[in-house]
């Protein structure tokens, strides 16, 4: 394991401190936790938006904390959901009186721990609503689909709605709309190594790739021989298009999983765009880069979000989060 770290058991704490040190005017770390919140949280009368999950997905989730996006992100250990007490601290810290909205990725761990936190918060009289993101079409059964890169669109749009003064119900409605209209599919060329584990999460031969990968270093749904960028892009995009009828306008995200050079993401994007053009889907905005990673995994995912006028406006709204500029 080659990593630039101090102690495998301290990576999340060190990272949180390093992040706040980079943006001391924008972010703060809640004492005794690895929760990162907007420096000015709680914002009075604004619904607070809280997300989070295991660490190792950087810039998710703390990179999306900022005016116009998340109010706080709770960071668990690497690939491990934050515990209810941490999420509860995040909820309390961002509650400006209008309630708190949770953006949860659909993993049993995240769902359980966030739900327990919500129960604790409700017991203290804080109104809590949530959305569970399940954009990963690699899984057939819709209820057990994972939340992956599409989550970033939920952060952005729910965050914008809150910034504009949306109520908890309005935010819930628009977040649900994003979840209904967003689909992703990923693949990987290499595994990654959880610092505390010290060994790669799985083994892949020099000529193999995994299709239908999540963001926790797990193997994919199918192991195949490596093929060209064009064919990979086609396989991912086709799977997404097959799952949901995309028509009209869409936002596209070509997301790198950690160690894929931007060069390769651009090459994938070229083909994705040409497939969409062929299908008559109008690309309203494209995001190419690392938005939701899996440590140093090599690979990428393709996300499509069908847009209506409301979603376009919210996607376009300004964001001050370090990792999302809009």
């Amino acid at each position: 394991m080659k990593k630039i770290i101090n102690d495998p058991n301290q990576v999340v704490q060190d990272m949180a401190e390093g992040m706040v040190a980079a943006y001391p005017d924008k972010l703060k770390q809640l004492p005794g936790t690895t929760v990162i919140a907007r420096k000015d949280a709680p914002v009075a009368k604004k619904v607070g938006i809280v997300s989070g999950g295991g660490s190792g997905h950087e810039p998710a989730h703390a990179g999306y904390v900022g005016k116009g996006m998340l109010d706080a992100a709770a960071a668990g250990e690497v690939f491990t959901s934050p515990t209810p007490d941490q999420v509860f601290e995040a909820i309390k810290a961002v509650n400006g009186g209008a309630g708190v909205f949770l953006v949860i990725k659909n993993y049993m761990g995240d769902v359980l721990n966030f739900e327990m936190a919500a129960e604790l918060a409700e017991a203290e009289g804080i109104q809590v609503e949530k959305v569970i993101v399940n954009d990963d079409v690699a899984i057939d059964d819709q209820s057990s689909r994972r939340g992956i890169a599409g989550t970033v669109f939920v952060h952005k749009i729910a965050g914008a709605k809150a910034e504009q003064g949306g109520s908890l119900e309005e935010i819930k409605a628009v977040a649900d709309k994003v979840v209904e209209n967003v689909r992703s599919m990923g693949m990987a060329l290499t595994p990654c190594t959880v610092p505390a584990a010290g060994t790669p999460s799985f083994q892949l031969a020099e000529n193999e790739m995994e299709i239908g990968i999540g963001i926790h270093g797990e193997s994919g749904i199918e192991r195949k021989e490596i093929t060209t960028a064009d064919e990979i892009a086609k396989e991912l995009t086709d799977k997404v298009l097959h799952d949901f009828e995309f028509t009209g306008d869409a936002a596209v995200m070509v997301n790198g999983l950690g160690s894929t050079p931007e060069m390769e993401l651009s090459i994938v994007n070229k083909q994705v765009q040409s497939i969409l053009a062929e299908k008559g889907i109008n690309v309203y905005q494209t995001f190419v880069g690392e938005y939701m990673t899996s440590l140093e995994m090599a690979g990428c995912s393709v996300t499509l979000l069908k847009l209506d006028d409301e979603l376009k406006a919210l996607l376009n709204a300004s964001s001050h989060a370090p990792a999302f500029h809009g």
């Binding site: 491990t80 515990t83 690699a138 057990s144 270093g217």
Partner: protein, 206 residues
């Protein structure tokens, strides 16, 4: 035989020792059909539970169990934290007030634990999760009359091993569908260690 507060504390400490000793093995299991953190998660949780319990003086078994539950919930993270936490919390609630725990009460507690786990995780038997060990153990306790070291360990081992042939339909392993067959469920393996630890505590008392 009845379990007193020292027995329960010893149970948690022994469980911790087993998690430490098998951390790598649990992680390997979770790398095969999960995300490779189960050993790390369990060690983190039981480490904290054990050190909390060692530092403190308890008079009631329920308090040891409750602190264990809280530590697991607040330190493990991942799916297993709330589930194991719930298991110990339900056990604690069942034996609340008691100075010692007799076999029947323990059996009732396990039944509550299983129900709690199933409810939280929305899982049932046969889905290749820790439910499969806890549920089999609750059945076993319902059938039997008294604590028996060897039988408890054996029963838990069998339950764990039966998860090998199952196809996962809950948790991360479910993503692999048929590919999940042929592997021990990590959460069932750690559950086995918990019951193995219990058996050893009973053995010490015999």
């Amino acid at each position: 035989m009845e379990l007193n507060v020292q027995d329960i504390a010893a149970w948690i400490e022994k469980s911790n020792e087993k998690m430490q000793a098998n951390k790598e093995y649990l992680t390997t299991l979770d790398q095969e059909i999960g995300d490779g953190d189960h050993g790390i998660n369990m060690v983190r949780g039981f480490q904290e539970a054990a050190s909390k319990i060692t530092k403190q003086d308890y008079t009631k078994p329920a308090d040891v169990l409750k602190d264990t539950a809280i530590m697991l919930m607040s330190k493990v993270g991942g799916a297993s934290g709330p589930l194991f936490g719930t298991a110990f919390l339900k056990l604690s609630m069942t034996v609340k007030g008691n100075d010692t725990i007799d076999f029947g009460t323990f059996a009732n507690g396990l039944e509550e634990s299983v129900n709690g786990i199933k409810q939280r995780g929305k899982a049932t038997e046969g889905e290749k999760t820790l439910v499969d060990v806890w549920s089999k153990m609750a059945d076993y306790f319902r059938r039997e009359k008294d604590f028996d070291q060897d039988k408890i360990a054996e029963e838990a081992k069998n339950a764990m091993e039966q998860t090998i042939d199952m196809m996962a339909t809950k948790g991360r392993a479910a993503y692999f569908k048929e590919r999940s067959i042929g592997h021990v469920d990590p959460g069932s393996a750690s559950s086995f260690y918990i019951f193995q630890a219990l058996a050893e505590v009973i053995g010490r008392r015999d």
